[in-house]
């Protein structure tokens, strides 16, 4: 069953999601991939900055802050926390 796709910055703090698609192009896309944001990577929304933007995400054991401009180019689907960090569980 197809799950609903969100942009990464839409998700509430504390939620886990799975990367489905990058809309970004060129060097930004490359940078995102280099940070490990490849298909099916689990990302946790960690903290918002005082102004609400940027937001920091946990990506492969590191904490990376993304502005809404970038995060909105990452399409993700929500996953249950129990699914684990790598997302190998139920689907």
């Amino acid at each position: 069953m197809e799950k609903t796709l969100f942009t990464l910055n839409q998700l509430p703090i504390g939620s886990h999601s799975k990367v489905k698609q990058l809309i970004a192009d060129g060097p930004i896309r490359r940078r995102m991939l280099d940070l490990g944001l490849i298909q099916d990577t689990i990302v946790k929304s960690l903290i918002k900055s005082p102004a609400g933007d940027p937001i920091a995400y946990e990506i492969r054991g590191t904490v990376i802050a993304l502005r809404s401009e970038e995060a909105s180019q990452i399409l993700v689907e929500l996953v249950e926390k129990q699914e684990g960090r790598r997302g190998n569980g139920i689907n």
Binding site: A24, D25, P27, I28, R29, R30, R31, M32, L33, D34, L35, G36, I38, Q39, L46, I47, K48, S49, P50, A51, G52, D53, P54, A56, I59, R60, G61, T62, V63, I64, A65, L66, R67, E69, E70, R86
Partner: protein
């Protein structure tokens, strides 16, 4: 506008690759790694040099070179900029890649952070695609241990097929093993067998087809498999680099191009478009890293990480994030001001005790009276003042600031402030370059290289001067302490702290305002993309901080100030026009204009003479006031205020001087650095004019406003 990377200092960066090899026996080692993995600490520990280190990503922006010897052999170590990748999305990546490819290092050491090995492996695998001579240094093992992260280094070595050494560079642990591994790989005693990332059958077949052609052209000067792969994914930058560094224009080889064209056609059928092929390559590398990491890394408990997240939650919270930031800065200033008081007085007493002895001595050897006056009352007395007023605050402030830097607080500041920088059309990392400016604006300007977009880099360069460097910082502290605060009795330190804090905040607000102004006018454009890593907090290296900041920053800066000041004083006291010394002559000329700004001619003159180094502004000021006749027995800090008051100072003069210290032309070193970084006289001139005009406008408004409302 011609804002290419060539024109913004990257050419200068490349120059640094001209390595001086003294004998053919010397071994060249490239040091690569993700930002913030302690690469500079590894570099310093190996070479004994003192490259600036700090816990924020992107700090190493130029390549340092150093040497060490091991078992009678000389090794040259080249510290490359920290990058997440070397597939060249940015100039730093291009530099790192080009050096590994074309700089002919005998060994490439990749430094990784043990606490985030998985992400780091991406770069390791990329380097291993280029060269076989790789040593992996898993640094920050102590941090990993503290966080209960266990890494099976033996297994990692087996999986990667290259030597793996675990180190804790700051305590020196593992460095002998690292040196030994480097030596063995360089001499060929260890034959590495690097694991190659496997791509799918189609791609592997295509690589093979191209590889043979490339091998014919390049031989073993480059890894032909790797070149083949990136010709296939259409990496034009690489073709350009091969042309630049090897004089080999691959795009002109018909046979190769024909072959490539055919395969590209097939690729289009296999993958939807080229973008997908690029994605596929990166994805394969990341997945390989993930697999390896799963096999060697085990987390025993996650409590530690939870604690760190909680701290981050507070330090960046909506309610407390910014107040905490201001409070922390305030506490640093308060400790500085409060703590500097006693040593300042002790130093003053001690130095003036020496002055008396010096005076007696000169009289004893019957030195002419004018020699006595110039040496003792002119040079020595002024310098004694500089040392007692400036040394204690500097010796307290810089270790404290370095402590925050070492802990990893600065990236949180950038995180907190990013939104405002974005609104100003500037880059989020400008907050980091701004923090670097606290140390030295020239260093701040160089650190702007971490900003990729030329437009935003220029904004950061032009506005860097709005944070006071450690040459101007003592002007603020000393004026706040001895002038503004001394009238308020019990709350002295508090008032002084608040006034310094206010000026810094004002500097930040002006930075944002001017950035916005620039991005709406001469540097129009939208903010570029931005990713900022918030590195884990680390235990600061207290001993190193104290030694480093006192010797590197304080003594160096003060030493320079003393030397320049002594020279200026000598010249000023000896050259006379119409029987008044040249300083007074100039000051009288400047006075009418300076008065409009709430200053006086001497203050403005001191700032003008302070062009080579801002540290000498206060010494020149003291010297010129003393030479006008008010010969005071300056034996306590209170006397210093008296000296200023005798020369017509009011609280408004002090405020305007502080404001002008914050906003005026960058010092000579900074201007030269800007010229070098921007490769443009125009932008250097703009960087000179923007803060100067700002300073004049701000001082004018404050001075005239205060006078208008009858506050003075």
């Amino acid at each position: 506008m011609g804002l290419t990377n060539e024109s913004t200092g990257m050419a200068a960066l490349k120059d640094m690759f001209n390595i001086e090899i003294q004998s053919p026996n010397e071994v060249v080692i490239a040091l690569a790694g993700n930002p913030n993995t302690g690469k500079s600490t590894v570099f310093n520990s190996l070479t004994g040099l003192n490259q600036h280190t700090g816990n924020w990503p992107g700090k190493t922006v130029s390549n340092a070179q150093g040497r060490y010897s091991y078992k009678n052999k000389q090794y040259i170590l080249v510290d490359l900029p920290g990058t997440y990748s070397i597939l060249a999305n940015s100039v730093e990546e291009e530099i790192a890649r080009d050096f590994i490819c074309f700089g002919n290092p005998h060994v490439t050491v990749v430094v990784t952070d043990a606490t985030s090995l998985e992400r780091n492996l991406n770069l390791v695998l990329q380097v291993m695609e280029i060269t076989d001579k790789v040593v992996l240094c898993v640094n920050l093992m102590d941090e990993a241990k503290r966080k209960n992260i266990h890494i099976n280094l033996k297994e990692l070595e087996k999986l990667l097929g290259i030597p793996v050494v675990g180190t804790t560079a700051r305590s020196g642990e593992g460095l002998e093993e690292l040196k030994s591994a480097i030596a063995k790989v360089a001499s060929g005693k260890i034959q590495t067998n690097p694991k190659k990332v496997n791509y799918d059958k189609f791609l592997e077949k295509s690589i093979k087809e191209i590889e043979t052609h490339i091998n014919d052209l390049i031989g073993n000067r480059l890894n032909s498999r790797w070149v083949a792969l990136h010709l296939l994914d259409g990496n034009d930058e690489l073709i350009k680099s091969i042309n630049d560094h090897m004089g080999l224009n691959l795009s002109q080889h018909n046979l190769l191009n024909k072959k490539l064209e055919n395969i590209h056609q097939d690729i289009k059928n296999e993958f939807d478009e080229m973008k997908d092929l690029k994605d596929y390559i990166v994805t394969s590398i990341v997945k390989t890293g993930e697999d390896i990491s799963k096999k060697v890394v085990s987390f025993k408990d996650k409590n530690y990480i939870q604690l760190e997240r909680k701290i981050d939650g507070i330090l960046t919270s909506k309610t407390f994030g910014i107040p905490i930031m201001i409070a922390l800065l305030g506490i640093v200033f308060w400790i500085t001001i409060k703590g500097a008081n006693v040593p300042s007085n002790i130093l003053a007493k001690g130095l003036f005790w020496i002055e008396a002895r010096l005076s007696t001595f000169l009289k004893l050897i019957k030195a002419p009276i004018w020699v006595h006056d110039i040496l003792v009352l002119g040079v020595y007395r002024t310098l004694a003042w500089v040392v007692s007023v400036m040394l204690p605050p500097m010796a307290i402030f810089f270790p404290l600031f370095t402590l925050l830097e070492d802990l990893g607080y600065l990236p949180r500041v950038a995180f907190n402030l990013d939104y405002y920088f974005k609104k100003a059309g500037a880059h989020g990392k400008q907050a980091l370059t701004m923090c670097m400016g606290f140390g030295c604006n020239a260093a701040g300007v160089i650190s702007c290289r971490i900003i990729d977009s030329p437009r935003e880099r220029l904004i950061a360069i032009i506005t860097n001067n709005f944070v006071p460097c450690n040459g101007r910082f003592p002007i603020l502290i000393s004026l706040a302490t001895i002038f503004i605060a001394s009238s308020t009795g019990a709350f002295r330190s508090l008032v002084a702290t608040l006034s310094v804090l206010t000026s810094i905040l004002l500097g930040v607000i002006i930075t944002l305002f001017i950035s916005k102004l620039l991005s709406k006018t001469i540097l129009k454009g939208l903010p570029s993309s931005f990713t900022l890593e918030l590195p884990p907090y680390r235990k600061p290296q207290i001993g190193r901080i104290i030694v480093g900041s006192i010797f590197d920053r304080t003594l160096f800066v003060l030493g320079r100030a003393v030397m320049v000041a002594a020279l200026v004083i000598w010249v000023m006291a000896n050259i006379r026009i119409n029987d008044i010394n040249i300083l007074t002559y100039c000051a009288q000329f400047l006075n009418p204009f300076a008065q409009v700004l709430g200053l006086d001619g001497y203050i403005l003159m001191a700032f003008i003479l302070g062009l080579p180094a801002n540290e000498i502004v206060i010494p020149i000021l003291i010297m010129s006031y003393m030479s006008t006749g008010s010969m005071l027995e300056l034996d306590s800090l209170r006397e210093m205020k008296q000296l200023l008051v005798n020369n017509g100072w009011t609280w408004l003069t002090a405020v305007c001087t502080m404001l002008f210290a914050l906003n005026h032309w960058p010092c000579g070193t900074t201007l030269l650095t800007i010229r070098k970084e921007t490769q443009s006289l125009k932008w250097t001139l703009i960087s000179f004019l923007v803060p100067t005009i700002t300073g004049i406008v701000v001082c004018f408004i404050v001075a005239q406003g205060a006078r208008l409302f009858g506050l003075v």
